[in-house]
Amino acid sequence: MAITAEDIRYIAELARLHLAPEEAARYAEHAGRIVEYVAQLNRLATASVEPTAHAVEAAGFSREDLPRPSDAAAAILANAPARDGDLFTVPKVLG
């Protein structure tokens, strides 16, 4: 199935990527060829096959509800690209 530059622009919007028109065309070509290539999976009949999400089924480890405060808060805040005291700041959300 071919992917158009318009498809790519829509997908890019979902993924929060800005693509110039010539980039959208190039990504559409590359992604289109890969999607064509992966379509060969359709040669296999899989209606009765269970999907595998993880190759090794872990029991799903869970933990006790015991607080253990982290000592990393200062180092986490130090990475903020923009901050106001202990707050991360971002541009206006609406508008």
Binding site: R16, V38, A72, P91
Partner: protein, 488 residues
């Protein structure tokens, strides 16, 4: 050869101090890295501090491990508290992790010295290291060629003796393929054998950390040091870790090794094939029973992977949004959405962008069943192929890569050509199985790798076969010249 086990002997006998050894390695990195670009960050001062702590431990003979005082390199996809971790990406160029990965904490507890962080394809997406935002790594055997990827930096650092050994990560062959191209040993453990806590996620159901070393004994002891249950990773398996080292010398007599016919067709270079055939003869001479087997869904592994891996990556890479860490572009952007777009567009390179687009596409409304669910079903078939084969054999032997290291630029124009470099390694990740690549010869002075694939959690048998082969062959003792002088 400066293996971990050889250095440990000298350190523990007091013939050399960790500080002296670390200084030698730092000097060697300073000399060679401008040509190789294997390290992105050299943590000189911290490494010397680690070394002095290790020397104290060695003097007191307290709590010694084979890693105490031994200088190790880390792929830059594993977070290190206070040492910049970039993932080969502009978006994390200045990121200082607030915590250590579990494998780093284990190396530190064992007394290892962390020399620095090694170059890689951006977010581990690539097979040649040409997708690093910080320039490609050069192959120490021929600097006009790629080292393989995505763990090209650690592979080159080990091959050029810019560290005793390294940790890499493997999502579709990223430890084994560069190990093959650089003439070293690389081991991708069973999914869940090693904690992924602190491994920056590419495709969470496929990623695994593993050792990249100069010989099989080192792979065994380094795996032993990092493997095992971790309460911080709910996919880390709570099963005992065997003593891989003590299993090594049991030989291969009576072991059954299968050779899948599907791995010897199409794009396999005839001279690489000849090396593999010769290795099979050696295995037979050592007493292994070798038989032909079939893994009928082999041809579907690459297409299956290129749905699953980008899908998982597109979600895993959503957190790079310029809010809490990493690059923020478009400062002065009037809206949040504009800031997001500017940051992610400026921060991600073309291959990562392509894979985010692909992953978002296959997961988008209306396509999920046709792509992602279908790929997960094919993944089941691929896994079943292996489990069926393991009813008859103890391990599977294949080439690691279809060719030796290719030249820079040879496969960059066409992403599909690049993806086919991993044709022999991808199935292991889809099936969650352990795989090891070991040197098995040279074609035109370029190393060739042999891959062994094992049953789930049976790294011990793989390492045992690899060790028997290694001890019977000279390949692992060869080192690249590249005008490189040996440190004393």
């Amino acid at each position: 050869m400066k293996t971990i086990h050889a250095l440990a002997k000298r350190l523990q006998a007091g013939e050399v101090t960790s500080a002296a050894l670390t200084e030698q390695y730092l000097a060697r990195i300073a000399e060679l890295n401008p040509a190789l670009n294997a390290y992105l960050t050299v943590a000189g001062d911290l490494a010397m501090a680690d070394a002095r702590t290790a020397d104290d431990r060695l003097r007191r003979r307290a709590d010694l491990t084979p890693l105490t005082g031994v200088p190790i390199a880390i792929k830059d996809v594993i977070v290190t508290k206070g040492i910049r971790t970039t993932c080969g990406s502009k978006i994390l160029a200045d990121y200082l992790p607030p915590y250590d990965a579990t494998v780093i904490a284990r190396l530190r507890a064992a007394g290892a010295v962390i020399l620095g962080k090694c170059n890689m394809d951006e977010f581990a997406m690539g097979s040649s290291n040409e997708h690093s935002a910080f320039g490609p790594v050069k192959n120490p055997w021929d600097t006009s060629r790629i080292p393989g990827g995505s763990s090209g930096g650690p592979a080159a650092a080990v091959a050029a003796d810019c560290c005793a050994a390294a940790l890499g990560s493997d999502t579709g062959g990223s430890i084994r393929q560069p190990a093959s191209h650089c003439g070293i040993v690389g081991c991708k453990p069973t999914y869940g054998r090693v904690s992924r806590y602190g491994l920056v996620a590419f495709a969470s159901s496929l990623d695994q950390i593993g050792p990249m070393t100069k010989d099989v004994r080192d792979a065994a002891l380094l795996l032993e040091a990092i493997a095992g249950f971790d309460p911080n990773d709910s996919t880390a398996l709570n099963v005992p870790v065997p003593s891989y080292q003590t299993e090594l010398e049991r030989g291969v007599r009576g072991l059954k090794i299968g050779v899948p016919k599907e791995y010897f067709v199409g794009g396999l270079d005839p001279e690489v094939a000849a090396c593999i055939r010769s290795a099979i003869d050696t295995m037979k001479a050592l007493g292994a029973e070798v038989s032909d087997i079939s893994l009928p869904h082999t041809e579907y592994a690459v297409p299956c992977y290129y749905i699953i891996a980008p899908a998982e990556a597109s979600a895993n890479l959503a957190r790079y949004d310029g809010v809490r860490f990493g690059l923020r572009a478009g400062n002065g952007a009037v809206s949040l959405k504009a800031m997001y777009g500017a940051t992610r567009t400026d921060g991600f390179g073309p291959e990562v962008t392509l894979r985010i687009l692909l992953g978002t596409y296959v997961l988008s409304s209306g396509y999920y069943d046709a792509y992602y669910r279908k790929a997960q079903q094919v993944r089941t078939l691929i896994k079943q192929d292996f489990l069926t084969a393991f009813n008859a054999v103890d391990a599977i032997l294949t080439p690691t890569a279809p060719t030796t290291a290719f030249r820079f630029g040879e496969k960059t124009a066409d992403p599909l050509q690049m993806y086919l470099s991993d044709i022999y390694t991808i199935s292991c990740n889809l099936a969650g199985l352990p795989g090891v690549s070991i040197p098995c010869g040279f074609v035109n002075r370029l190393p060739v790798g042999l891959q062994l694939i094992g049953r789930p959690l049976d790294e011990a048998t793989l390492l045992r076969i690899a060790y028997a082969y290694e001890q019977a062959t000279p390949w692992h003792t060869q080192q690249p010249e590249a005008g490189i002088s040996q440190p004393s």
